[in-house]
Amino acid sequence: MHNRLRHRAALLPLALALSITPAFAGSSDDIAQIKQMLVHMKKEYAARIRQLEKRLAKAEQRAKQAETAAQEAADAANAPAPATPQSANAFNPGIGLVMNGRFQHFSRPASEQAIPGFSIGEEGGKGDEGLSLGESELGISANIDDKFYGQFTGSFVSDGGADGIEIEEAFIQTLDLPGGLGLRAGRFLSGIGYLNSFHTHADDFADRPLPYRAMLNNAYKDDGVEVRWLAPTDLFVELGGELLAGDHYPAGGRAHNGVGAWAAFAHVGGDWDESNSWKAGLSYLDTEARDRESGDGDLFTGHSHLWIADAVWKWAPGGNPYERNFKLQGELFMRSESGAFTPDGGTPAGYSTDQNGWYLQGVYQFMPRWRFGLRIAGLEADDPGPALAGSSLDTLGHDPRHYSAMLDWSNSEFSRLRLQYNRDESRPLADSQIILQYVVALGAHGAHQF
């Protein structure tokens, strides 16, 4: 319509020009006639334009109505749409796979895995040299219903050329017990200490701190039940207790009819201010061992108890850790074991010892994606006496020490590359170690645990 109007408007001067040109050649009569014609045309066009304007106004009104209707429709469409199409798969649990691989180089022979003074579990060593696949963890978790949450973590381990599957965790947990109580049953990482309940792939270093390796076989997990209580206060106060089968290092042999271990722990924590937060705890683990296998063929039957004091402090400017943040954590271990120790190929001997361990580490994220960390760790053990001289418990008069520096880069929350250097003085002859590691997560989003 606009177009048509514009065409006519363009034609008008043309028509005038055409009609006027021959007029100069004509008489005054002709001029009068032309004048008349012009008046007539003017009238006609004025009428037509009025008509067109009317039609235009009508059309505009209609367009406006349509616009309002469209707006209303858009508003209606703004109501939330059904989130996902219905299907049996919609209820699939969260599935996440964590893979990690590494390259390790040692300046001392890879066969030197033991830590003198300690009869360590099979995972407590420094691992294979060269290229290797670390543990691949498959985690499946979901709310079971409105009362229970369930989590399963299977670990696929490649060790010395043989592949194996291990159940890392498989537990259920209550969601809505009253009074701040929570119950857990199944196999789980014990709540003792700070680092124990973390999966190793979430660690800030490629290997566990020395006391975790020497006294807990990296982490203590077992089959059992756990109760936790959270105080109704602004200060975080959590008390927990566990009854466990006693089947995993430092326990062993499922003593006391399969209830061979128990643990108790308390944690408190809070925010100092917007930028600083902290958590501290005290834990006790009491385990019974029956023919516990450790070291390289050692057997231990007796009692082992362990105290752990832990503290962690985190700093992030304004509480926003994305750009820069700092984390300082430390734990103190005190273990005493007493019973009968049978060294590899030897005869049983009475054994009673106190062992201590500690570590302190700081990790600084100096820009997004980049972190730098330092760690220092140490162990001290009583000399086991002449009967066990030459066994794995023989300290060789040496207090193990372990120094680490690491640098890692995370492209996203789901991938991390790490370079770590260790000066491992856990044996009298120091070992320089270089570790290159990748850790990636596929699938379900991991949790930002404190």
Partner: protein, 303 residues
């Protein structure tokens, strides 16, 4: 004698403990400042509101700190964005807080993103696309019309949880909505010059704002959502902006301004810090101030 004294002591202890348990106010745990402000507005003195994050924190990257677990333990109602914005920390808080009232599916579990229609729902779910959210873009609070929708649903939920205060929730909602609708009309009028303006954003968190005021996003500083800007990507963006300039480079208050500043210096396009949520700037003291200041700051550079 001693029995009666023991009884007295017992009664005193009970009396001391009672105010704690008889506290009638609805305990609200708000994940983000905008929902904290909204819950405070609608809850009035019938609600005690705790806000878990500030405008200077990235809501994607919060840790399940002990203080947050302790607060969640006593909450009657949690008000969070949802749409996976808090996926890294909210599920963990819920598991650790041992609080049945605020678990998913309960009345005390309220997600704002479920009350509105989400934009940018990805057609391809793959992590190579960056940190995308399956349900759609979760940053819904940048469109005030969304806030009005959430306010209605939130008032209804609060009334359901605490029927004795229903009238108050409704009254405060009506009052808020009245002022809010007038403010929206005012903002739309003031922001008319922004219509059609091309902008570059740091993170893909403004689609609702752009749709509301008709802004046109022509670039992102992040190569993929959630992946920090890289020199290569910024250089490419700079070349692109030389050919097709934009009116402003915007970023939220909690973000590192240096990539935006760098690009601004290289291209001459002004860089603007926007509050993004309540508390992001001094002027964004409340929900009204949030939009007043956002539009003010944009009008300063876009004419």
């Amino acid at each position: 004698m001693s029995t009666s004294r023991n009884t007295l002591v017992f009664i005193i202890i009970l009396a001391l403990l009672t105010p704690l348990s008889a506290q009638a106010a609805l305990n609200v745990f708000a994940c983000e400042p905008e929902w904290g402000a909204l819950a405070r507005t609608i809850g009035g003195d019938a609600a005690t509101v705790f806000t878990a994050t500030t405008a200077h924190q990235d809501p994607h990257h919060i840790q399940a700190r002990p203080s947050l677990i302790a607060r969640m333990r006593r909450a009657d109602l949690l008000v969070c964005t949802g749409a996976e914005l808090e996926i890294g920390w909210l599920p963990l808080l819920l598991r650790k807080a041992h609080n049945g009232r605020v678990q998913p599916g309960q009345l005390g579990y309220f997600l704002a993103a479920n009350q509105v229609r989400l934009l940018e729902r990805p057609t391809r779910l793959d992590r190579s696309e960056g940190d995308i959210h399956a349900q759609g873009n979760p940053h819904i609070q940048t469109d005030p019309r969304n806030i009005a929708r959430v306010a209605k649903a939130l008032a209804a939920r609060m009334a359901e949880l605490d029927p004795s205060q229903a009238e108050g929730y409704h009254r405060r909602l009506t009052d808020f909505d009245d002022r809010w609708q007038k403010a929206i009309a005012r903002w739309e009028q003031r922001a008319a010059p922004l219509k059609g303006a091309a902008i570059v954003v740091h993170h893909r968190q403004w689609p609702y704002f752009e749709a509301w005021l008709g802004l046109h996003q022509v670039g992102e500083l992040e190569p993929k959502p959630g992946i920090p800007p890289t020199p290569g990507h910024l250089a490419e963006l700079k070349a692109r902006l030389k050919a097709n300039p934009a009116k402003a480079i915007i970023h939220a208050a909690y973000m590192d301004p240096s990539p935006a500043r760098w690009l601004s210096q290289k291209t001459g396009i002004p860089e603007v810090t926007l509050p993004f949520t309540v508390g992001g700037t001094d002027a964004a003291k409340d929900l009204f101030g949030l939009f007043d200041d956002t539009i003010d700051r944009l009008l300063k550079v876009i004419q």
